[in-house]
């Protein structure tokens, strides 16, 4: 579903990604871990076609970037720590706008379905500026899956959320993954990543230094796995 080979990304003289290889099978939930500044967000922006690779090949859902970026974008949903929502529009109007941008046919029923999934049906007519941070993040997930994408990218979705909001987000993320979508999530919250993901990749020094599943740390925990990966 995602196939990245020898990816290099440079900003001026600084090289952020140094020949990164990354393959994700359909339906996998990959937690992308790494310290601040490792290049996780840069990598996700390249997968989302928001940034061009300097070198290397990137394929998402069978289409290569940047040449077939519109086809990739039609099959991709992105959630970042910014909700990408308009505060002066209602929850319904925000989803309606994105539904139009994705050319959906039966917009009304899809919007109702998505609002139900993220638990905001009762607030559909309320302005987004009246929403708490947690509610905005749930609606942001609704925005990202409005077109039922095959691949969903989450970039630090828990940033700024309190405990209750994070637990609600857990449920929404589980329901997104349960539909068989391919998910890549960056997070510093190892406990949540361990709970949700099926595979754990550590990005350090511009490459994926370690990759593993739960089987690889069944006698310890993700924190030990992560520390070892950083020390390696």
């Amino acid at each position: 579903m995602i196939e990245v080979k020898k990816l290099v990304k440079r900003f001026g003289l600084k090289t952020i990604l140094k020949g990164l290889d990354f393959i994700v099978q359909p339906g996998e939930f990959v937690a992308l871990l790494g310290p601040n500044g490792a290049g996780k967000t840069t990598f996700l922006r390249i997968l989302a076609s928001l940034s061009r690779p300097s070198l290397g090949s990137v394929k998402v859902a069978g289409y290569s970037l940047p040449n077939e970026s519109a086809k990739v974008r039609a099959r991709l949903g992105v959630v970042s720590h910014m909700p990408l929502l308009y505060p002066d529009l209602t929850a319904e109007e925000n989803l309606q706008f994105y539904a139009r941008m994705y050319g959906l046919q039966d917009q009304a029923s899809r919007i109702t379905e998505v609002l139900g999934m993220v638990g905001l049906e009762a607030r559909r007519k309320d302005l987004v500026r009246t929403f708490s941070r947690g509610m905005q993040q749930r609606l942001a997930i609704g925005r990202a899956i409005i077109h039922d994408p095959e691949v969903v990218l989450f970039d630090e979705p828990y940033t700024g959320l309190d405990q209750d909001a994070s637990e609600m987000l857990d449920e929404v993320l589980r329901s997104v993954a349960a539909k068989g979508r391919t998910v890549v999530m960056t997070s510093h919250d190892l406990a949540r990543a361990e709970d949700l993901a099926t595979r754990f990749d550590v990005l350090t020094r511009g490459v994926i230094s370690t990759s593993g599943t739960r089987e690889d740390f069944k006698n310890s925990n993700l924190l030990d796995f992560y520390k070892k990966a950083l020390e390696a």
């Binding site: 076609s49 940034s51 519109a70 039609a74 308009y86 002066d88 139009r100 941008m101 050319g103 077109h147």
Partner: protein, 229 residues
């Protein structure tokens, strides 16, 4: 879900509609542009000694100065809303040609500028006792000038919004580039107010049309590169 690619025009309409709906609720952008325009008109009214002849010669200049500055306020704010909340990424993620974003934003920016002009023109006529601006030819020039100014302004605001000094940078970038449009607009609308024959305003009018086409075509071609990281 198999989603068909959205049509270019539907995406343009969706963006313009979204901007107008959000502005209808908040009225932040329009109120700022209107208050600013009215203040400029008032200041000019007090600052200039206006006998009939002088009034005739300054009308076009005063109006276009006012619209250019007020337009800059609107352009800055319109793109800042997208950038500050990360919504520009939301637009860029849509599976549509990115020039649709340019046209959607340009249409909403033009609508805001035309609303300001529709309110400021009668106010100007009242304060300056100048009724010759209520001519179809004058309003036509106003529309052409606004299209040229907004098309280059929307493109440059997409560039300047990426920087920390966007409020200062936009006018610095925009005014030199928009000089041909502003000069042609002032010449053409000034000629209409002065009652010059059509042949005499044909040259600035042609220039205005040519610049509108050039700015629209250029923006269409390079917007994708401007918004790309």
């Amino acid at each position: 879900m198999n989603t068909p690619a959205p049509s270019f025009f539907k995406a343009v309409f969706a963006i313009a509609h979204k901007d107008l709906a959000a502005e209808f609720r908040s009225r932040e952008l329009l109120s700022a542009m209107l208050v600013f325009s009215m203040l400029v008109i008032l200041i000019f009214n007090f600052a200039l000694e206006l006998d009939v002849k002088v009034r005739q010669s300054v009308t076009a200049g005063v109006l276009w100065t006012t619209f250019a500055f007020a337009g800059t306020l609107g352009l800055n704010r319109s793109m800042a809303v997208e950038k500050d909340r990360g919504c520009m990424d939301g637009l860029l993620l849509a599976p549509v040609d990115r020039s649709a974003i340019f046209f959607g934003k340009a249409i909403s920016n033009l609508a805001f500028m035309l609303v300001v002009e529709a309110i400021v023109i009668p106010l100007y006529a009242m304060l300056y006792n100048e009724t010759r601006i209520f001519q179809w030819e004058f309003l036509g020039v106003l529309l052409l000038g606004s299209i040229g100014y907004i098309s280059v302004g929307t493109l440059l605001s997409a560039m300047s919004v990426q920087t920390r000094t966007r409020d200062v940078l936009l006018p610095i970038l925009l005014f030199p580039v928009a000089v041909p449009v502003l000069l042609a607009s002032v010449k053409a609308s000034g000629g209409i107010v002065a009652g010059l024959p059509f042949e005499e305003i044909l040259a600035p009018l042609n220039l205005l049309i040519v610049y509108d086409v050039i700015f629209l075509a250029t923006s269409f071609m390079i917007f994708d590169y401007v918004v790309e990281e």
